[in-house]
């Protein structure tokens, strides 16, 4: 009987307060600082770099300091320059993939959520197959069809992620559609497009935004992985993944080459996730109202 009891929600009590402390804004600020730092690096790299990308004047595997903030790699290129270009590629990869995933995923998810009966089952199975399709294979196909550019990698990652997003959106939308306020909207004469825009999307948004942030992180990692395999942005564009790959052999003697892109990668992923958490909390009228 322990199980029977513990699962039971407390029905007749006033809703216990959730997250009373103003959590949302603090996480949001921390996230913005972390991700903003990297975005700033990326932005600056568009106009100014300490050294040209193919400058090897610093000598091989120079340590940090001197003319090179983080030292140089085994070809004598400035590491900080590479980190900056890498941050631009990472942000592009993350944003690009998430935009593709969100656009296709949300549209597909909303449309399939309205399906009924056998069509519903078929679409669900279709999405599952898409999810099971390996990103790597998809990336190789796209690279074969086009060429190994950042765009190909982003397209592959975005497409792979849109299936994941679509399945999530489908479930979320279905749950919202079962609510009485949707029926109320219908009996008030609200058209389906307006119901989706006015009721469905605002209510799936909090969960969706957190998931998209997660996808952003995964996309950055996936791009790093693909360029590690030579399927991403071609040299001399230093993506963090390529830097990790190149620094691999010299990790014990010159760790900066691997640590710098590795740490930035982690910071970016954490930053974006914190932003998402913070957004969810600040956007929720229930927690926002309590703070006021």
């Amino acid at each position: 009987m322990t199980r029977t009891d513990v699962l039971r929600p407390v029905r007749d009590e006033k809703a216990p307060p959730r997250g009373r402390q103003p959590r949302g804004s603090a996480t949001l600020v921390t996230g913005c600082v972390l991700a903003g730092l990297i975005a700033l690096l990326a932005l600056v790299s568009l106009f100014w770099l300490p050294y040209p990308a193919d400058d090897t004047s610093g000598g091989r595997l120079a340590g940090p300091g001197g003319g090179h903030l983080l030292g140089t790699d085994k070809l004598g290129r400035d590491l900080f320059t590479q980190v900056m270009t890498g941050s631009r590629i990472a942000v592009q990869a993350g944003l690009g993939s998430v935009l593709i995933a969100a656009a296709i995923g949300v549209t597909l998810g909303v449309l399939t959520a309205f399906a009924q009966g056998w069509l519903d089952d078929t679409l669900a199975a279709f999405l599952d197959i898409l999810i099971a399709f390996p990103t790597l294979l998809l990336a190789m196909l796209i690279v074969a069809a086009r060429s190994a550019t950042l765009g190909s990698a982003v397209l592959a990652i975005g497409l792979a992620q849109s299936a994941v997003v679509a399945r999530l959106v489908r479930v979320l939308v279905k749950r919202v559609l079962a609510q009485d306020y949707i029926t109320a909207a219908r009996t008030s004469g609200t058209s389906w497009p307006r119901t989706v825009a006015g009721h469905v999307l605002p209510n799936i948004w909090p969960t969706l935004v957190v998931n998209l942030a997660l996808q952003f992180g995964l996309a950055v990692l996936a791009e790093a992985g693909l360029s590690y395999l030579g399927l991403g942005a071609p040299p001399p564009n230093a993506s963090w993944g390529r830097m990790l790959q190149e620094a691999q052999a010299t990790f014990t003697t010159a760790p900066a080459g691997a640590l710098a892109p590795g740490i930035l990668l982690v910071l970016l992923v954490i930053g974006v996730n914190l932003i998402a958490d913070g957004l969810r909390d600040t956007l929720d009228p229930a927690t926002r109202g309590r703070r006021a």
């Binding site: 009891d5 929600p9 029905r11």
Partner: protein, 266 residues
């Protein structure tokens, strides 16, 4: 003999709000006590505190002695032996009280087997017997069914059978009929009443519905905002309420009921 002795029970949330405030009562062996209250009265939290099942983040102070065991502050291991043997519970929502992925028979066989030590065919027979006792038709078929395959009323009977399987000395029933249809509710109340009388079991019956509480219990407490506002025999509370709040409660119930009588009298 006192079976349940609650003294100065206070339940607070993590951020210091008091939801149950200095509640005291006793239930003697075989006695039937009602807790009456509306949303936010703290009646459900009181029953959860009695069973040592308060949600995370809530703390209880005061004293809850159940069959000689102090529940407040007791380690989970001790509570597990107390629950079931000394007290078992039936809650409002039968669907969440049962494991959706387990056949009904197995859910009852668990506690029943632990208490009686029966196994195999004997245990199966005991399960069928337990289901038959809560007046479920065709107990063998029900035992093989999953919770979603039977009706709400049947599920609540299964939950009752599970609670009774351990022959507890105290049955805690928290709004056990609120989710049920009227006619099913009437049968369920009748059933609880008979079974409890037969076994001389004590009952702590919680409901917002005065008439329902009056069906099963003799004595009742009225709770409001976590405090006991009135206490006494059920027919005194209903017939001659003393406190303002109790008066309002009785008047509301009477108002609705009288509509029925006016129509019927015509």
């Amino acid at each position: 003999m006192t079976l349940l002795d609650v003294r100065g029970l206070t339940v607070r949330t993590g951020d210091g709000r008091t939801l149950v405030d200095d509640v005291s009562f006793t239930v003697a062996g075989g006695e039937r006590l009602g807790l009456i209250g509306e949303s936010g009265s703290g009646k459900s939290l009181t029953t959860l505190a009695v069973l040592g099942l308060l949600p995370d983040g809530m703390t209880a102070t005061g004293s809850v002695e159940l069959a000689g065991t102090q529940v407040i502050g007791a380690p989970e291991k001790r509570l597990t032996t107390v629950r079931g043997r000394d007290a078992a519970a039936v809650f409002q929502e039968p669907l969440t009280a049962l494991d959706p992925l387990m056949r009904v028979g197995r859910q009852i066989a668990g506690p029943l087997g632990r208490r009686t030590g029966l196994k195999g065919k004997d245990l199966r027979r005991a399960v069928a017997h337990a289901l038959a006792q809560v007046r479920l038709p065709d107990p063998e078929r029900i035992a093989r069914a999953f919770p979603h395959e039977i009706s709400g009323g049947q599920r609540q009977r299964v939950a009752l059978a599970m609670a009774l399987a351990c022959e507890p000395r105290l049955l805690v029933a928290d709004e056990p009929t609120t989710a049920l249809d009227v006619s099913v509710q009437a049968e369920m109340l009748e059933l609880i009443d008979t079974l409890v009388r037969e076994r001389e079991m004590a009952v702590l019956f919680v409901s917002h519905d005065l008439a329902v509480v009056a069906k099963v219990t003799d004595r009742a407490l009225v709770l409001k905002d976590g405090r006991v506002v009135e206490e006494g025999a059920v027919h005194t509370i209903v017939g001659a309420p003393r406190e303002e709040y109790t008066k309002a409660l009785v008047a509301s119930a009477r108002r609705l009921e009288s509509a029925l009588d006016l129509r019927s009298a015509r």
